[in-house]
Subunit: 313 residues, 2 copies
């Protein structure tokens, strides 16, 4: 049986055709349109056609809260203020049954079924992208919360009264460690007279925004400003992940998303180092790693969501 | 079948004889000795003898991490630096089998089995005492974490670089909302020339420290300094509970411990109010309440722990 997994991020949409053993048989990728939900659904439908195969359903991971099959809010995509009928819209375009999940949750689901979190009972997933998402496996099963909104480690407040976050609050982890926030910080510092190669690297790579590959290049170049802003993000992640570990006592933290894919285990090591001082009683087995499936975690998890839903009828 | 529940706090030790339907058949209470574990075990054994009855076992809730039946750390009790054989020590003194639990966890367990959290699948318990403890019920069962250290909402950091906490970190919820921290703050402000009735109320009531009843009296009197320090604690609780709700999306928050027992639903309402601005997507069913069993939550939960252990053999 083949199913399609779709991972809608603030920057890219990735679509993969996935087989019975969670193997990705083919994939396709495009920038996320900024014109709103219809444009996003059109792109997804095109990408689904492009990967082809003989899928029996589609799983769709989105950066928002999903409850009882509906998307409640999608804060990091422009024009998505009102609830949108994503299931109906994509089903109409493709003729396939569609199930929804949160991007951080399906990302960790992919890693738990077929990647770095396989066999672990208590796992925190931290997904670094345009924003900072996350997912949880607790007591040996995915934990979604009472109405599907669990895992939002990006909105753990680490500095009450601190930097403004896209969610309208101050001092959230995402306000320091989300790529959009880091870009805002960089531009403010450039306006204040600081120098950086980040903007030129962005232009050279033909990117609309400072993507993970832009950050990777600037950090490799030893760009001071990039290192400084990035270090502030890693610090905030450490405080926030530490707080979550004090409450949840998991023994595995999986770091996913574009930055994890680019920076690899060095990133997991840096985040581990910035987290440890904040953990009261780290599990003796506490370990940090990056997603083993790289860019494909979300696609694999979303496809698995579709598979379970098709099997369950 | 009767079992004994013991709730060891930083201020008091409470012991209760508990029946099959979680009813407290008798109880007894003493100040927590400051001379270390042996003195504490002696007092517990005296109190167990005092409540009498025909118990088949003892459940012991302590303010520390419990893993595989052993107490790993007990940070809020003086002289408890090294791991202590509490099970053997109390078993020798009473001739009864003893099982250990964390105080916040057993407090919430009591409320979940027989109090305010009965029938709820996803619950955060916040226990306000000398420190700030907590417990979790997730997906319809108590969640203890990978090595028993879950639930430490007191050590969620809300102000990176903020006030020093008893755990050695800065900016933890407990550094603002624990009674010991609030007392430290009051005394520092008095040294700086501020006035308060808290110290006189403490002396009048014959208390060693500013207990919940001392705070209750000062807040009722409209003491400015008490209100200010207390409001700072409630603010920190709001930020910390909000962070946890963003990660866990539970729909019930139970506030327990001495302050909850004294201040009642007004306290739950105040904490709800200070939490709501920090929650990204509150569950439509989100509710805050105080422990229905009052002082007895921990005793009932600890006795239940003993009951399950005796039944399981």
């Amino acid at each position: 049986m083949q199913t399609v997994g779709v991972d809608v991020g603030g920057t890219n949409i990735e679509v993969g055709l996935v087989g019975d053993d969670h193997e990705v048989l083919g994939n396709a990728k495009q920038n996320t349109p900024v014109e709103g939900p219809d444009a996003v659904l059109d792109v997804i439908a095109d990408l689904v056609a492009e990967v082809g195969g003989d899928p029996v359903g589609i799983g769709l991971g989105i950066p928002g809260v999903v409850h009882e099959g509906r998307a409640l809010t999608v804060p990091n995509l422009p024009g998505w203020g009102d609830p949108v009928d994503l299931v109906g819209g994509l089903s109409d375009r493709t003729g396939l049954p569609v199930v929804l999940g949160n991007d951080g949750n399906v990302g960790l689901l992919g890693e738990w079924l077929h990647g770095a979190a396989k066999g672990h009972d208590d796992v925190l997933g931290v997904w670094l992208g345009t924003g900072v998402g996350g997912g949880l496996v607790l007591g040996g099963r995915p934990y979604l919360g009472s109405h599907g909104a669990a895992g939002e480690i990006g909105h753990v407040v680490v500095r009450d009264g601190g930097q403004l976050c896209g969610c309208g609050r101050r001092g959230c982890v995402e306000a320091y460690a989300g790529r959009r926030s880091m870009q805002t910080a960089v531009r403010a510092l450039v306006d204040a007279g600081r120098e950086t190669t980040l903007e030129q690297l962005r232009i050279d790579k033909g990117k609309e925004s400072m993507t993970s590959s832009v950050w990777e290049a600037a950090l490799e170049d030893g760009d001071d400003l990039a290192q400084e802003v990035f270090a502030t993000g890693v610090d905030a992640l450490g405080v926030g992940i530490g707080a979550v570990l004090n409450v949840l006592d998991v023994d595995l933290v999986v770091i996913g998303g574009g930055l994890a894919e680019k920076l690899g285990s060095d990133l997991a090591d840096r985040i581990a180092e910035s987290t440890r001082p904040w953990v009261m009683r780290p599990s003796p087995d506490l370990r940090f790693c990056v997603a083993a499936l790289g860019d494909d975690s979300g696609v694999v998890g979303a496809a698995a969501l579709s598979r379970s839903s098709v099997i369950a009828g």
